[in-house]
Symmetry: C2
């Protein structure tokens, strides 16, 4: 367990370094716009799935499969936008995004993992299992927003 956590941590550091190099020329305002765009689209495709989970709109397995695939991709897009250079750009990001990067990255990874699992579960056609996994995805969104995002 400890070993795998360390490996994950190291992978995260490598990812940040590579992204950092690739983004060397991106302006902080652009990085913020890009990460906010990813969040906007996560909201677009998460919204209907949340509605289905809560029974507010009819369950549609095809929509869940499509949206889960999109969410899986989108869940990997915001994080390099939380670059150190964006620390002073106005946004809803709380300062601890930058002062507690390991915890932030861990919370981000949780969404990536739960979204990836949702893709697998959505292929099973098991509605109850899908709804349970939607719950896990929602929890990972909320966990990160509670700790790292200013209350809206």
């Amino acid at each position: 367990m400890k070993k795998s956590l360390m490996a994950a941590g190291l992978a995260a550091v490598v990812t940040v370094l590579v992204s950092g190099a690739a983004l060397a020329q991106a302006k902080p305002e652009i990085l913020v716009k890009q990460r906010q765009s990813a969040m906007t689209l996560i909201g677009k495709y998460w919204g209907p799935m949340a509605g289905m989970m809560q029974g507010k709109i009819p369950y549609d397995a095809a929509v869940v499969q499509r949206n889960a695939g999109f969410l899986d991709n989108l869940s990997r897009m915001p994080w390099d936008g939380f670059h150190e250079s964006t620390r002073d750009v106005k946004s809803a990001a709380l300062p601890n995004v930058f002062t507690d990067q390991a915890k932030f990255r861990e919370a981000a990874s949780r969404l990536e993992n739960e979204a990836s699992r949702l893709v697998q579960v959505s292929r099973s056609g098991d509605e109850a299992a899908v709804k349970a996994q939607l719950g896990a995805v929602g929890k990972s969104c909320g966990g990160c927003h509670n700790d790292f995002r200013a209350k809206q």
Copy 2:
């Protein structure tokens, strides 16, 4: 050829109807924000690939593979945001997006198809073939922007 074009047209109409129903409650301003977010992220992941194609940055097969996968997903996200209800919302979209929907949808499909092909080609490891396909993707971006987007 004519038959397949008709089939594609019908599929597009069905897609628009389904999307229209699903988006019945989304406000026009939100739809515009969502489609612009998709374009912002397409730019994020297209930029480095364009740079590699033009020899401005070193070719990196792993980055191309990752970005191609993202682009493939993102290329399918903007279109339902060009809903009739957004006609009067200020944006760079030209009026013919709404008056010549068949041609717009065809131009949009071209990006989807070229991006999907890029995913396949990027797995081959053939740098020249990848760069040729990047050219095809770029052409599909430009084709649509020329006809349907106000000059920036």
